[in-house]
Symmetry: C2
């Protein structure tokens, strides 16, 4: 009982660089294509949406990108985040495995999202941007960008997936506390939103739809506003590596090194943020790690999606990106893991999956909540529904170690707390939670409309 359960990192040892996986990949991921010409898209194609510094990060191959001092100042509010050893959970599972988790719920908005929201707001501010549009699923991203915008004095306007806007009003109020505007999506604000509402006034929305609305609003602002994405793109994943860079230093304190790294995957940023720095070590000759992405059974872009060029949004406005996709026309069914309801996957993770450098598992939401309750009873932290997928993956790995008698070291990303999701837990306890269903025919239909690329 006297061994540590929590590994901190002193402020003066906090990493000052993000890690860029582009420097170590065995081959570069396929480039994004211009949606009209189908030719590789260059920095100028992204300029209407993003500040040039972020675009240059997207294509950089430098291994370390310096974190600007004003960003590190804001990070200090909650970073370095703690690394925990789940000793009580290990004992409860009676597993020889060691289970570690990095806890990102200590951030102001309770998730990993501010890791990229803060630098995105900073780099926009540096280029004189006054307003940013974005989308959000369960509201973790929207509230994080609202926080970041408040820190740097930038107006934030959010399109929030309607089913979450209605189910999870608390995060909407949090955006308001940080001075941001939040619209349900689909909305009457954009032409695309109006069209969808005309077709079906009960449209529950999706990340793909909300992205389309945020992009449309940005483009129509005539250069006044920029757009920001909370996952999927390379610079977003890179900002998240502050977490993995810290974890490397914290794992050194423990004397262990991960055999297995687990994270949940929606767009891919929280798993990437934790594992990229470790994978970088592997790619530079270090130890091989078993990397597992955990996705919802109802939105399984890795395990059921096709690796193909597709749009990032439903209105097909974004450049084409080669990714594991269920089709940008696919509308994921409403479940409580709003942050994982995305038709596609980061092009980096899709590439790694294709290269066999990681694998994926799909889980239903009931078994994930069960894992989350088991975890919270032992560790005292109630995970977000999204994070429950990683908890489930880690528990599964630990039980596999038990059955094989292996004492492996498992590290997973507990990417957020569930304080804003207690209604989902109540539904779980009351047996009101529907099971996730994979709708194969809807996916096949959506995949038929994939853009044709030579």
């Amino acid at each position: 009982m006297s061994d540590s359960v929590k590994y901190l990192l002193e402020e003066n040892k906090a990493p000052k660089f993000w890690y860029n996986i582009n420097a170590d990949l065995p081959s570069p991921p396929p480039p994004p294509l211009h949606p009209g010409t189908k030719q590789p898209a260059g920095p100028d194609d992204f300029a209407p949406l993003f500040p040039m510094s972020l675009i240059m990060q997207e294509v950089s191959t430098e291994r370390e990108i310096e974190i600007p001092e004003p960003v590190r100042e804001i990070y200090k509010q909650w970073r370095p985040s703690p690394l925990y050893r789940a000793r009580r959970l290990e004992k409860y599972l009676d597993t020889p495995a060691k289970i570690y988790y990095k806890y990102e719920g200590v951030s102001p908005t309770g998730s990993h999202k501010p890791n990229t929201a803060v630098p995105q707001a900073f780099f926009n501010k540096e280029e004189g941007v006054k307003k940013i549009y974005t989308e959000t699923g369960a509201g973790q991203w929207g509230s994080s960008l609202a926080f970041a915008g408040q820190m740097f004095g930038i107006d934030i306007e959010v399109f929030m997936v309607k089913v979450s806007f209605d189910q999870k009003p608390y995060r909407k109020f949090m955006m308001q506390s940080f001075g941001a505007k939040c619209n349900p999506s689909p909305s009457e604000i954009t032409d695309f939103g109006k069209k969808l509402i005309n077709e079906d006034s009960n449209n529950p929305g999706s990340l793909g739809i909300a992205i389309s609305e945020a992009i449309e609003a940005t483009v129509k602002s005539g250069g006044v506003a920029k757009y920001s994405l909370g996952s999927v793109l390379g610079h977003v994943l890179m900002h998240q590596t502050i977490n993995g860079n810290e974890a490397i230093l914290q794992m050194e304190q423990t004397g262990d090194y991960p055999d297995i790294i687990v994270g949940c995957t929606g767009g891919g940023s929280n798993l990437s943020g934790l594992m990229f720095p470790f994978l970088g070590q592997q790619l530079r000759g270090g130890k091989k790690i078993d990397i597992i992405g955990c996705e919802p059974l109802s939105c399984p872009s890795f395990t059921k999606g096709k690796y193909a060029y597709d749009h990032g949004d439903m209105a097909m406005m974004t450049p084409l990106i080669k990714m594991h996709t269920l089709g940008s026309a696919f509308l994921p069914p409403a479940n409580h893991s709003g942050g994982l309801r995305y038709h596609g996957m980061s092009y980096h993770l899709s590439h790694l999956y294709n290269l066999g450098l990681m694998r994926a598992k799909a889980y239903g939401q009931k078994e994930c909540f069960e894992a989350g309750v088991t975890f919270s009873k032992q560790e005292g932290i109630i995970p977000a529904p999204e994070a429950n997928h990683a908890v489930k993956g880690a528990i599964d790995a630990a039980l596999e170690c038990k059955s094989k008698g292996e004492s492996k070291t498992i590290l997973f990303n507990l990417c957020g707390h569930g304080h804003f999701d207690m209604q989902a837990y109540a539904d779980y306890f009351d047996n009101k939670l529907s099971e996730d269903v994979y709708n194969e025919s809807e996916v096949n239909k959506a995949l038929e409309s994939l853009p044709k690329v030579a």
Copy 2:
């Protein structure tokens, strides 16, 4: 910008003792009296409710009480909690004052309450107790005891003030996640609850009522169950001093020492936990500190209450305690700071107030929410409505420093986050929040029925 904003404390430097203010008080507080005989109550009078080890802590005059190792193991999950310097808030207020805050929202339940819930569960467990009844206002205490009970395998049953049970269901679900049972109070479970519902089926409940119900249920259990209180009593306040003991070490890191310490006060435990160790230094010849308790305008036990012997509960079952009280028959009006809706005040703080060793201020809930929003926009943390009273007190003190040109050091306790209180923030933004009103005639009526003590 390069100075620290966050002061941590390494696990191996975590304090191993609680501080007992009884050792340094200039005079002992007046003793509790048996409700029947009106004679000083002895340990045996408390034995039906509490395990003997906690009763002995209540009357101990040893300066340091060792924190048992299993308790320190659980504390490690979130302790030492961070000390922050509110540099952004200072700049925003343009004050020469330095503002520090200890942030207790990092605990599993998001408040300071587990500091005493964990040892209370431990000491009950040591004496073979299988079940504990308790009451809770906004649910912070109930969820904390639920967590602690889960850690040590003790059944927890909670009577939750009805207005909060209805307004704040998320904390109820949290109790459920930790395996506890939660009843709205007044309930049909106890005779006292039934009587009140018969008189008024819309009775919103109060802490005084919920305490009565929990005590009645404990007494009727025939020795099977014990009772636990989340504030007010001496052993509760002492367990909270883990926070002040840490703060002393963290303030040493900053090179500053508090001139002013601010906390919100309901029963008194969170202010006490932070300031007792500092006050102890003062009483042993150290620097004089201006200690300010911040209470709601609608339930102002310090600033409008009478210093008299009174019952701790509405059914007048508890021993008589000399405290600042609005009368145990007083029903505080519903406001969003459920944790501060208590007719009385800790006998320790009442004694200190009477000795002139601390002072108090009463604030309305609107001005407190305004302060909370100002704070969250600068510091990124959304405080609980209760904690907003301390934020308001600290901001007031900083502005006073500004008008006088004094660069004092202010330390306040940010005792919890507001993640479960976002509806209250929404009401504030929508201008739906009623202003607190001090109901003098109701208080005077309640004070008329104070027990007669020679």
